[in-house]
Amino acid sequence: MMPLNALRENSDMVAMGERVHYLSLALDARRALNAIRAADKGSERTDELRESIRAATESLDILRTHADFYAKLSPEHYVQYEEIQTLREVVSSSLDPESLIQSLKSLLASGDEKPSAEDFGLARKFFRALESRALHHYNDPASSEAFVA
């Protein structure tokens, strides 16, 4: 098997000047949070909410099943290396993926299956953590290059 040193490889990645992907993820999380807040206040389930939740849920599902995530992503998922690593960090740090996925899916449910206050709470907690973590990486002073190739 080809030996791969995970720690070294990952530390290299931080310096690759791709911090814009962290900003992109923070903006996605912010958009989702705003949509969840609107839904919690009784607004119609908007496209904003559906798109945000679906992308996150599908990505979390793939992470949970240990499937090939980065190599075979469809555009609906978080597609960048930095986004996936941040998602991994957030889920592994404090959240139970099973409960989170259930709560997120409940936000998309239609008819009488209304999401509970706990579902809204968990979803908001997740996206808040995702936005904060993405901003933390974005503000790494070492990653000063951006947007350039």
């Binding site: 995970a6 992109s24 075979k72």
Partner: protein
């Protein structure tokens, strides 16, 4: 309703001021310099985004502690977006039309317009402090802008078909070094290609096909890092080959000079292992220059341009010939840590070449035009004449000539050939000049570059006139509504 907390007003004001400080002076600077239409589009976008962001901030409020928890990071996210733009604004303002080699770059941009679906693209230039040509990933900028617009509803759209390219601040007067912008245009073109969207899966397949890798855990983070590295390497190769296809071998010659790659040749023109082997080491995000120049050479060998390269007696051409025979095993051997990844890059080279073929499908490589006009351009340059309007002999010995203009691609390649192979002849032909004096050489190199830039500019003006007035009667067309 509870009153909006004072500490939040403080934080909002701090961000409001941060945005203000970034765009402060933009209007003043703009009135002191002339900018290209593309640069003006970009600066207008910044001004509009600043206005909408500040309006958003002035209306931003939270009603209770729960909303505070959910929305406080909103301010940090907007601040981060402005930090990104901060990088670009001053360099764009510094790059007024007097400071950038507009004629040469315009000529290369016009060539870019010949590509399918690229006719409407324009590039704004800015200055970099390092000796690096860079392309701002406008696809990312557009994506970020679209996401910002989801938060700040009246934020402007990023100008469509706008690319941003950085050139070293010191290279404004040069012509040939700026051929390297062709590579940066490749980065612009690469975004959204089929190659970009399929590359990760292709690399993954190549990875798994290697002995012993089929049982690698699919979610291995280190494998993700490897795939990421390979995609970056592949993009660089794509952009190099794109540069070659866009403007011909003058791109490769400029590349060789920029990185002093002919240093790997010994006194007699053979490859010196002592200087060559250390240069085979790949970087984290870039293949080695030697690997890159080999790929360019191999592409050129399959094009009509190769005959000219073989006849060219410069050291750069010698290198392009010599580097072709370096086997992949040598690249692998000289990369103790990364060598194992090189076969993966090698495996996806056909995909990269296919993508290049698609990008240039139906585009004239202009070699026929070059072959026809190059002798005349060489003759003009040897006599110190700007090759704007060429009197090309028709037939043999009839004395008849046809008056034509050469395209930027032809002029750049002819000029580069003259610079590499006939500079000494030119200087020797001028009484009182000495080809051994460096100040003298520099003076005439600058003159050659100016002649080529002037010819490209003249060709551009003629083209503008003929576009306005296709009858070619020398009079401007009727006023447009």
């Amino acid at each position: 309703m509870p009153e909006h907390p004072a500490y939040l007003r403080h934080d909002q004001t701090a961000l409001y001021a941060f945005i203000g400080s970034i765009v402060e002076g933009v209007a003043a600077r703009r009135s002191c310099a002339a900018y290209s239409p593309a640069a003006i589009h970009f600066l207008d976008f910044i001004a509009d985004l600043a206005a909408s962001s500040q309006k958003y901030l002035s209306e931003w409020s939270v009603a209770d502690s729960e909303e505070f928890e959910d929305r406080r990071e909103d301010l940090g996210t907007i601040r981060a977006a402005w930090k990104e733009l901060h990088l670009l604004i001053k360099p764009a303002l510094d790059a007024g039309t007097l400071q950038v080699p507009s004629a040469v770059i315009d000529g290369i941009v016009r060539r870019f317009h010949d590509l399918p679906e690229c006719a409407g693209t324009d590039f704004a230039l800015f200055h970099t402090s390092e000796f690096n040509y860079v392309q701002v990933r406008t696809a990312d900028l557009k994506r970020i802008s679209a996401k910002v617009k989801k938060l700040i509803l009246d934020a402007p759209e990023f100008p469509p078909d706008l690319g941003l390219i950085g050139i070293p601040y010191s290279q404004g007067r040069t012509a040939f070094a700026n051929c390297l912008v062709a590579h940066e245009m490749g980065h612009y073109k690469y975004r959204g290609t089929k190659l970009e969207s399929s590359l990760k899966a292709r690399i993954d397949a190549a990875f798994k096909s290697l002995p012993g890798n089929s049982d690698q855990k699919p979610d291995d983070a280190s494998k993700d890092a490897l795939i990421k590295r390979l995609t970056l390497w592949a993009e660089e190769i794509f952009c190099d080959l794109f540069g070659v296809m866009l403007i011909g071998p003058c791109y490769t010659y400029a590349y060789i000079e920029a990185y002093d790659l002919s240093a790997v040749l010994d006194y007699s023109g053979l490859i010196s292992d002592e200087r060559f082997l250390p240069r085979l080491q790949f970087y984290d995000t870039y293949p080695s220059h030697m690997f890159r120049i080999q790929q360019q050479s191999l592409l050129l060998r399959g094009l009509s341009w190769w005959d000219c390269i073989e006849k060219n007696c410069s050291r750069s051409s010698t290198l392009l010939n010599a580097i072709q025979g370096i086997p992949i095993e040598t690249h692998i051997k000289e990369n103790p840590t990364q060598g194992k990844y090189i076969p993966l890059l090698d495996a996806i080279l056909p995909d990269i070449k296919e993508a290049i073929g698609e990008a240039f499908d139906g585009v004239d490589d202009e070699f026929v035009s070059f072959s026809r006009l190059n002798p005349t351009v060489q003759n003009y340059l040897a006599n110190g004449v700007v090759p704007s309007t060429l009197n090309v002999p028709i037939g043999k010995g009839t004395g008849e000539v046809m008056t034509v203009t050469a395209s930027p691609l032809v002029l750049l390649n002819s000029g580069m050939e003259f610079y590499l192979t006939h500079l000494d002849d030119l200087i020797r032909s001028i009484p009182g000049e000495d080809e051994k004096r460096f100040d003298c050489r520099l003076h005439w190199i600058r003159r050659i570059e100016e002649w080529i830039a002037k010819a490209i500019e003249d060709e551009s003006l003629k083209k503008e006139v003929s576009d306005v007035n296709p009858n070619g009667n020398g009079n401007p067309g009727p006023p447009q509504a």
